[in-house]
Symmetry: C4
Subunit: 378 residues, 4 copies
Amino acid sequence: MDTPQFKQLRQSLGFDEVSIVPGNITIDPEQTEIGLNIGGIKLQIPFIAAAMDGVTDVRFAVEMSKAGGLAVLNLEGVQVKYENPDEILAELVHAEPEIVNTLMQKIYSAPLKEYLVGKRIQEIKRAGAIVAASATPASARYLSKLAVEAGADIFVVQSTVTSAHHKSNYREELKIKDLCRSLPVPVMVGNCVSYQACLELLETGASGILVGVGPGAACTSRTVLGIGVPQITATMDCAAARENYRQKTGKYIPIITDGGFRNSGDICKAIAAGADGVMLGSIFAQAEEAPGRGYHWGMATPHPSLPRGTRVKVGTLASLRQILFGPSNRSDGTLNLVGALRTCMGLCGVRTIQELQKAEMVIAPSITVEGKHWQLMK
Amino acid sequence: MDTPQFKQLRQSLGFDEVSIVPGNITIDPEQTEIGLNIGGIKLQIPFIAAAMDGVTDVRFAVEMSKAGGLAVLNLEGVQVKYENPDEILAELVHAEPEIVNTLMQKIYSAPLKEYLVGKRIQEIKRAGAIVAASATPASARYLSKLAVEAGADIFVVQSTVTSAHHKSNYREELKIKDLCRSLPVPVMVGNCVSYQACLELLETGASGILVGVGPGAACTSRTVLGIGVPQITATMDCAAARENYRQKTGKYIPIITDGGFRNSGDICKAIAAGADGVMLGSIFAQAEEAPGRGYHWGMATPHPSLPRGTRVKVGTLASLRQILFGPSNRSDGTLNLVGALRTCMGLCGVRTIQELQKAEMVIAPSITVEGKHWQLMK
Amino acid sequence: MDTPQFKQLRQSLGFDEVSIVPGNITIDPEQTEIGLNIGGIKLQIPFIAAAMDGVTDVRFAVEMSKAGGLAVLNLEGVQVKYENPDEILAELVHAEPEIVNTLMQKIYSAPLKEYLVGKRIQEIKRAGAIVAASATPASARYLSKLAVEAGADIFVVQSTVTSAHHKSNYREELKIKDLCRSLPVPVMVGNCVSYQACLELLETGASGILVGVGPGAACTSRTVLGIGVPQITATMDCAAARENYRQKTGKYIPIITDGGFRNSGDICKAIAAGADGVMLGSIFAQAEEAPGRGYHWGMATPHPSLPRGTRVKVGTLASLRQILFGPSNRSDGTLNLVGALRTCMGLCGVRTIQELQKAEMVIAPSITVEGKHWQLMK
Amino acid sequence: MDTPQFKQLRQSLGFDEVSIVPGNITIDPEQTEIGLNIGGIKLQIPFIAAAMDGVTDVRFAVEMSKAGGLAVLNLEGVQVKYENPDEILAELVHAEPEIVNTLMQKIYSAPLKEYLVGKRIQEIKRAGAIVAASATPASARYLSKLAVEAGADIFVVQSTVTSAHHKSNYREELKIKDLCRSLPVPVMVGNCVSYQACLELLETGASGILVGVGPGAACTSRTVLGIGVPQITATMDCAAARENYRQKTGKYIPIITDGGFRNSGDICKAIAAGADGVMLGSIFAQAEEAPGRGYHWGMATPHPSLPRGTRVKVGTLASLRQILFGPSNRSDGTLNLVGALRTCMGLCGVRTIQELQKAEMVIAPSITVEGKHWQLMK
């Protein structure tokens, strides 16, 4: 029993393991405030559509902005590699499952067309929408310049794991700090999952931090790389870093939980765990406006030698507006995300996102076989 | 390891995670006492049928009262919206699954017919039964007056989460305290799940507290709103509040665990966790007398913009009497609830509900895939 | 967080949650000793066949004794209610699933034929076997007299939960202490699961204690009554009572874990948790000699008003000898129980059952969906 | 609550229960070092193919060595019992499932042909590969002599559980210490799982320790013998022994985690838990070069009286080179093991295996039914 310990492991928690405890007082959902401020740019709702090719294209970005949220255009995907991305997307969507990973590797090996970066951004801009665009650290310096010149309002540096200090012998190292200082627009950075990594990203001057690495239990980052932290723990740890940074600097930088969401309940839980907003992929891929036509895949899926993830059929459910604002005629938490969040806040008796972050949560047994059985009986 | 903690989460427990330890002495089941006292109204058995339209109508309320228990009539459902609710229920029950949620939203959007409130209550009353009727907080003042005038013996204020202090800009706020003081009959209030919320409801002068929010692991409150506390923990926390209130005031107010029950074992566990009685929905929906004809749905299911729950087929099993008193020819805990409770008490060597509340319980692994497999092999 | 606690729950463990750690030394399986001593009667192997009608009849009891173990004849089942029990068993075994519980209730409502008690016991005795016979506490005084007169070597008092002190207004109370003192043969008593209940049974002068109430996660005692303690915890707690009793009195009384076993691994785990022997039902019901012809049911299954359990098809696997001693051509732990136990002891480097009780165990994740999937792929 | 404790059980962890936390810095995968040193013999990659007949034959050993790893030839299997093992393997692979265990028992009961030991080793040697060969403790003295004479570079003593001190009345006891001292080549020994057992094996002078007993939750050692420790805990405990031994002696002896791996994520986790290398069975059985032609079985499977394990169909996936080095067109962690390990190290910001051993890990919920469901929907 008194065996020397090689290392200690903390328990971590995902969406399925936790639940929110309602409050001692309750309020009307209509009295709640759910805005999100990213470096001075104010969103009315704390929902951001992911920089994934099945989710965000020009049209979707415009609709999302009109609805009060934000969508991030991926500057390394089909939108900037192909003049007519819809053709390519149709090919991807109709491909047989056996060949889809190989086809995806081929499609994404096409080079970026520089002029398309500006073109896409301007199309969104002209429609009066807020423009957010993303790149991986390796291309961030080059693409951020193009994006900002074209009128991007927010720039996002995103990869599976982005650290403030990447060491490389092969390419010029990106200093996130320099990028944040040199760009005239707010920069969001991610993803990270730990207290220390988040704190170091906050210290670069970023205006928002994306949180989430291999969040889902079924996520292939865990299967392929062994890496991942369930989202509730990742969010709580990064929220702790945000509080530390606020105490030291007086600056409140939002934490955006990204990945693994399946329903509005998960969204409420992420915010109760400390998030200021959420980035959604598969949930928005279910919108009629989504370019993936009911299919969804991550940006690590087309990796040439080590793909992580695959094309997922999510189906098409409703318009983006109905997904966000309802009305819902389903009870699975996929429609009326805003109404669900406001109702949750009402039952917790809180008026703001920051108050919901203080709600009590419990570790609750995840869905059991028995529970599943009962549900199926329905 | 010494990462600052954003928040601490307690472990919570549901029916599947716990089990009762038998006693050091045993007694005969026939020697047990299982009555329940709600504000002076004494029930012989601690079973209350839920205020759900698939469970309680006039006939069911009469049968339940004759059997020694209680059924609560929902004053915002089909019984008071339609002169002939059976027709409406038949329509609901025969609707195709794809359209049932939408149909339910339509059916429940019909206005209440004031004269039906009195009529239904008097029909129950005339049969010599104890009458309990329920409303949501928003309509409680108005409907409680009608109900009491018509002869209701117990009034129930119930919603997903009811707090002693609801804040609203849009409607006149209901003060539960004022309602309890002004009504000449005992008032039961719920639902709540936490120590503090329960304590505040006890301090309003309520004669019974309903406990349970999003109890089942499969419950859609958790999926849609992220909210819920498993029933064993909810019951233990509210029982602690009851004890505190008793110490301060000398008054013993019963705690009624409501929701998530699947069998008599769950009922025994709820009482061993501290409950004085249980409110049952789907179990009673399986009675031949239940108006839902083998179907069951919650009162949040027809919500116009954010439905939570759906129509569930539970089937018809036996008469209410056989469900309550047996004999049983099944081994799944769905028949002879009273016999099972008394047998449990006998094996624990306890004579009263209050003694069963002190029985030892253990956290026991929930039903595993392996266990399930073995069971199916049978 | 500092909510007052209504009660504290300990974590309990079943077979699926634990595993044995092999030793720092290893020995040859042939060097192990696995005898079991019940009140002076020495068994060569620590395996006892349960007093269940699908397992033990005259022939099975004889075979089991010849193999070095023991089988217990149920003095309240078909063997003593019917002159020709094989006909009755055939009827039970061939009944359709829908009517089997009702048929069983009818068959078991037949009265006991007193002369059959003596006849069955003498049949076993004449074959040179050790005779063990069982009754419930309510009939123990009467039946023990008959059994001992007929030549029984061991008497077993057994019910779902048997306490040293049963309180009853309706029937004369059985004092286990008096029974143990008055009978000229060793008495085994059970079942119990907790430290205190076991200690009180030990103090009655019993020669063996049966441990196990609602052990399996799928067990219907938990579903119907909410009662049960997983077998590893039950065994450890009762073993602690045995140690306490030994320290106080110098007497070593064996603890027999009864119920929930599916394979030889479970048997090894029970002994490593502190058991001196095991009582097996479904595993022996798979023997060619078992009267249940591949079917199995518990003694609470035919309960007239609250049946717990049902007829289970276990199939017929091999002869009792092959189940006990192999050779095995299967890898699921259902054949060669003795070989498996000895091999386990060899890998743990222990020579006796009492040394195996001291082996290190760990809490190990139970079989996951993933594990199951992999296994099925095989 | 203050019940005396019979024994204490530690929580143990397997691959499914843990996950690696990415680092605060990141580096390029190309900058990582993943070599493994076994008693002076340096491997470029820390992957060893198991001494199983479905995995390692002459051809596979040669390919594995060329790829920078090592394969261990089993000196008690079909390669040394049959002049033409391919015929035998074909028979095994084509046998019907019902008879395969019995056939396997028959095939493996054939006697060893002494001249084949030398022949197989020389065939590998002549191809310029590093030769590793294994035997169980009972035959280790005899077979190690033959193997070393034929040119083996590494000798492996391996059984389900091997201890430094085996006690036997029936055969001459093998002293591992003497063997290590007398053989002119490095000796690897295993398997073990606990701190103390590993420490004692280290003290014999072994050049590598194999870690893993009954690792998988579905593993039949747990089902048949009740024995097993999940691999993360086993690896951590043995790594603690390695550190202790290093502190006392200055010698760094590698720990090789053996068994239960399903994908590259598991491999990364084992190393993050403290392993220096991994021994793989079923993953390499999926190689086109594997003699098992898509089938796999353990060395305890053909045990004459107590088989543990069975023939598993794993399928044929790709060439050994592609399994090791990619490119991958799958996202399930079965291809590009080296790329996955290097990428994991890059995301953890570590350059060496020893640094990865210090990476933070968390206990993360294992794959739930819900997660599985979502995955299947894909």
